[in-house]
Each structure stands twice: as C-alpha cells, then as structure tokens.
C-alpha cells in the first residue's frame, strides 16, 4: 500500500518538476555575504569612526590591538562561512565548531587586556556606566546586518535551521563588535567585556529563537 503511495508520489513530483538553478558553492556565497557586510561596516567606520581615539587608547599596545581585532574578525568571518556550509546538506558537521577557537581567543586576548589595565592603575570599575551603550550598539548593528545574512542563508532552505541560525547570529554579533572597536571611547574593563558577551548572547539567542520563522525550513 505504502509502495503504491510512494510510486504515486514520485510520479507527481516528477511530472511537476521545474528547472532550478543550482546554488553557487557555499564558499562563494559566504564571500559575497562577507563582502556586503565589510562594505557596509567600512562605510560606517569611515564616516563615524574615531581613529585618533583608537590610536590613543591602544598607544604602546599596538600588538594587543592587532591580536584583538584579528580574533574578532576571524570569529565573524569563520562563523559566517560556517553558517553557509552547514546550510547545505551533507557538508561536514565540524563547521559548527569552527568559530569556537577564535571566539575563545577573542575572549582571552580582551580579558588579558582588561587585566593589563589593572596593572597600569586603571583600577577595578564595577559600574555599568557607558557599557550599556555598547550593548545597544552591538544589538542594533546586528539587527541591521542580520536580515541580509539570513536572507542569503534562507535561499538554501536548510534542513536543520537551528545551527545555521546560531552561527549566523555569532557572525553578525562579532561583526558588530568589530565595528564597535572604532567607536569605543574608553578602555575595555571586565564589566565591559561582560556586557559585550551579554550582547553577543542576546543576538545569538534571538537569531536562534527566530530560526523557524526567518529560515524557511525544507
């Protein structure tokens, strides 16, 4: 009985098959998405970024700045590339864990920077102060970048949308944190780091929770 239904299903599907254009390779689609995000972020930074303040803040700690920026950028880029790979059936599941080392490296480098500030007499500041602006910045910038990325990912109609959405959330949150570096008017403290982390979790959680509505499930 079931075989008959399966045969009938095959005949119906085959009769109504329309030509489709195969999706480009995931690495190519990821590159196109990254290029759009980089172009948007570069324009915003060129217009509004405070490079003098950035140089002043990291004066004598250029290596630390380069490491921190590289770790954030790598987290964003790897998470976005991984999201495109995971959205295609049959690609390696290892992509899900790919951004974790870079994310850990980012937290480690920033944490060491906060610790270094203590040594330079920065003292321990446990007040939120301007940190809430950072949270608002990361969430708002992510909200602006996420629809574009999610729209590109939705073209693949992922069979398991949750990991795709979580990786996309991490990608846009890290991109926003990278842009924030150019607008951050003060040295990062431990409380800032905690707020940045909270903002990232908020973005990743929100994109993850919305996965069934934003990514058309196959």
């Amino acid at each position: 009985m079931t075989s008959l239904r399966t045969d009938s299903l095959i005949d119906r599907l085959a009769a109504g098959v329309a030509p489709v254009r195969p999706l480009p390779a995931p690495e190519l689609r990821a590159l196109m998405a990254l290029a759009t995000i980089v172009a948007t972020a570069a324009l915003a930074v060129a217009w509004f970024g405070d490079f003098a303040e950035l140089r002043n803040r990291y004066s004598g700690r250029e290596t630390h700045l380069a490491l921190e920026m590289a770790a954030i950028l790598a987290t964003a880029a790897i998470a976005i590339v991984a999201a495109f790979f995971v959205s295609i059936p049959g690609r390696s599941k290892r992509w899900i864990a790919a951004p974790i080392p870079f994310f850990a490296g980012w937290l480690l480098v920033t944490g060491l920077g906060c610790y270094g500030n203590l040594g330079r007499g920065g003292g321990v500041e446990w007040e939120l102060g301007e940190s809430l602006h950072c949270l608002a910045f990361i969430v708002a910038t992510s909200a602006a970048l996420a629809p574009l990325l999610v729209w590109r990912l939705a073209c693949a109609r992922p069979i398991d949308p949750l990991p795709v959405a979580l990786l996309a959330g991490l990608g846009v949150a890290a991109s926003s944190a990278f842009v924030l570096q150019f607008f951050h008017p003060f040295t990062v403290t431990f409380i800032d780091l905690a707020v940045h982390l909270t903002a990232i979790l908020v973005v990743v959680g929100t994109v993850g929770l919305l996965n069934r509505h934003t990514l058309v499930r196959a």
């Binding site: 399966t6 119906r12 059936p89 049959g90 693949a156």
Partner: protein, 190 residues
C-alpha cells in the same frame, strides 16, 4: 549492499539529479526511483518501525524535491542524500515521541455499537459516499481535499505535490469543505 556499490550508483545519480535540475522529468523520475533502496536502508537503521521508516522515505522524497537546488553538480550525491535522510529520520522519531507523549490509541474508542457487525463499514460504501460528496468540486478543490484532508499531508507538502501555492490550497480546502457540507445536507445517504 556495499558502500562501493553505492559509489558506483552515485555517479549515475549525480548525472540524473543534474538533469532534473535542468527540468528533465524522466531523469528526475529515474533518480527518485533509484534512490529508494538507499533511503529506505538508512531510514530502517534509524527508525524501529516499518511504517515510520516508510513515512520517512516519503518525507525524504518531498525534501529532496524542495532542496534539489542545493546539490552541486559534480559532487557526490550520497553524503547530500544521507544527510537529508538522517535529518528526516530524527524529525520523524521526535514527532512520534511528541505524539506518543500526548495521545493514547484505544481501539475500542472507535466502536459505537454493541453489535460488532454494525461497526464494520459496508463493502464499497465509502468510495460511493466519497464520490457523491465530491460531486461538483473543481479539480483544484478535489486535489486539495485529497492531499490535505484524506492523505493528511501538511500544506507545504501538498503544495509541492500539487503545484498550488499554500494560500490557494487553503482557499480550495475551505471552499471544498463548504461544498461538501452542502452536498451532504442536500443528498443524505439512502
């Protein structure tokens, strides 16, 4: 069947699926028929029930139809297809678990009369009743009723099979139900 043998089939499947992406319906029919044993093999290993694994096979066919644009010609088909089967098997097991946690099957609940014979449907009665009730429905409405109400497919699945949009299916089901109620009230069974 060994993995080498699947690999031999894989090249042929890749050609058929690439042709299906160009709209070749014969190649697509051959592809879907050829993959059934492979799909069934994985589904049976994952699902404990014969019926559940057959449901997974049909769900996989619908999924393959929806995501056929994600296959890159020239790449092996088996990992692409196996990932779909594994995912759909997990979905089916979870769905069965959710339903099993909330619903209980009670065979006696369907009995309405004390006399066991009275509960048996009359031979050929159901098709006649159905034919009488569906009289006057348009082809689109009949198709919508058959897929959504009789075969109990989801709107998305019915949309893939019928080629109607989800909105059209909803409208057709609504109008068909209205007509069926009217036909039933006008023409009571003898």
């Amino acid at each position: 069947m060994t993995s080498n043998r699947w690999h031999e089939h894989g090249d042929r499947w890749g050609e058929l699926l690439a042709a299906a992406q160009r709209g070749d319906s014969e190649a697509y029919r051959d592809f879907l028929r050829a993959i059934i044993p492979f799909v069934r093999g994985i589904a049976r290993r994952r699902c404990w029930s014969e019926q559940l694994s057959e449901d997974v096979v049909q769900d996989v066919l619908l999924t393959v139809h929806r995501v056929r644009h994600t296959y890159q010609p020239g790449r092996p088909v088996e990992p692409w297809l196996a990932a779909i089967v594994v995912r759909r098997s997990i979905d089916a097991i979870r769905k069965r678990g959710r339903i099993g946690a909330k619903e209980v099957f009670n065979e006696l609940a369907y009995e309405t009369f004390a006399d066991p014979g009275a509960n048996e449907p009359l031979d050929g009665d159901a098709p006649r009743t159905l034919a009488r009730m569906t009289r006057g429905l348009s082809q689109g409405q009949q198709e919508a009723i058959e897929l959504v109400k009789i075969q109990e497919l989801t709107l998305a699945e019915a949309s893939v099979i019928s080629g109607q949009s989800i909105a059209s299916l909803k409208v057709n089901v609504h109008r068909a139900m209205k007509k069926l109620r009217l036909n039933l009230s006008k023409d009571p069974p003898a």
